[in-house]
């Protein structure tokens, strides 16, 4: 009788520890939490999103305030449409804020940087960010530099 009880207790302990490890890995080491919580969605249109991908952070002054949830091409505006999910903690972002696609470091990941504007109204669920700055494509930049350089050389 005693041995059966030890067996049951040990098995229970093993399962408990296993589930605890699963829970710990899922919530503490992954970005799972940043998707949770209360948040609202806004849209932004860009001419070129460059290497931006779903899950990329949205930052204000270097602080992550949300994430990119969807990127697709709008056939009505002929621009790339990016859906941003912003945490409810940051519900006082001015409506005329600027969204820019920036790169972390020289070769780092791309993210969306928000710079606050001065409007008295705030972004809310479903609103659109009107002032955007596309990703800087290194190839285009180099191309412009080269053509510009050859023109000025003559």
């Amino acid at each position: 009788m005693r041995s059966i009880r030890t067996l049951e207790v040990t098995t229970g302990l093993f399962v408990l520890l296993g589930v605890a490890a699963l829970f710990y890995l899922a919530t503490q080491t992954t970005n799972y939490r940043s998707y949770g919580g209360r948040s609202y969605q806004v849209r932004a249109f860009f001419n070129n999103v460059g290497g931006l991908h779903v899950g990329a952070p949205v930052r204000m002054g270097g602080v992550t305030v949300g994430r990119v949830t969807r990127i697709h091409y709008s056939m009505t505006r002929y621009q790339a449409e990016v859906d941003l999910l912003i945490s409810d903690h940051y519900d006082k972002i001015p409506a005329d804020s600027t969204a820019a696609i920036l790169t972390q470091g020289v070769l780092g990941e791309q993210y969306i940087g928000l710079s606050p504007g001065g409007a008295p109204t705030f972004l809310h669920k479903g609103s659109t960010i009107h002032f955007t700055q596309s990703a800087i494509i290194l190839e285009n930049l180099l191309g412009q530099l080269l053509t510009h350089g050859s023109h000025s050389g003559k």
Binding site: L7, T10, Q28, T30
Partner: protein
Amino acid sequence: MKRFYALIQPFLEFCGALGRRLHFLVTSLVLVPSALARPRQFIEQLFYVGSVSFILIAVGGLFVGLVLALQFYTALSRFGATSSLGGLVTLALLRELGPVLTALLFAGRAGTSLASELGLMRATRQIDAMEVMAVDPMRRVVAPRFLAGILAMPLLAAIFSAMGVLGAYLIGIKMMGLDPGVFWSSMRHEVRFHSDFVNGMIKSLIFGVACSLISLYEGYHARPTAEGVGQATTRSVVISSMAILALDFLLTSFMY
């Protein structure tokens, strides 16, 4: 005609072996609900398969985490990128090392004991006796062990990865003096819930099915001699290990 038959004989034998294993897999999967109906047997098997492997897996995970962090630290410090240590170690653990090393250790620790136990039951005619008593040995012996193996594997892999993260923490923060905030935030920034954590757990679930199936099959169909039991045990480890590594390559190429 005879010549032709001799030519395709190995192929037919291979197909037969594959078919027998598939039949074994389907029968075991169908019997899984009946194993759940007898919780006592199932819990007993979960103890023999899972709890007894706990120490091995926990210590293994801790040391793998320690070594990974140490190696990554020396490599990353050359580029001044030690800030991404936490993310890198956790990615490596969740995606590959956790599921694969756990499965290999599981094959050595629990798989062998399953194979030799069933092989000995076969050799001492216990399985035949059950059949004579109209007790289905697949239902009575194989199903609870199979279910326990499937459930234990993801739990063990999670324990392995969690201990690995602890090892990386000990090296990175306690020994090398990295900033804890940078360490943990790089982890949360790099590791994606769905593509890294969930895929890793799916991997280890599939390894659990493969590993238990191979060990049980080899034991169940062992030749009923002392030598046969030994061979079945060896084969279970060899085939499991190869299956795990091959499956890992396949799964990785599908997932990422």
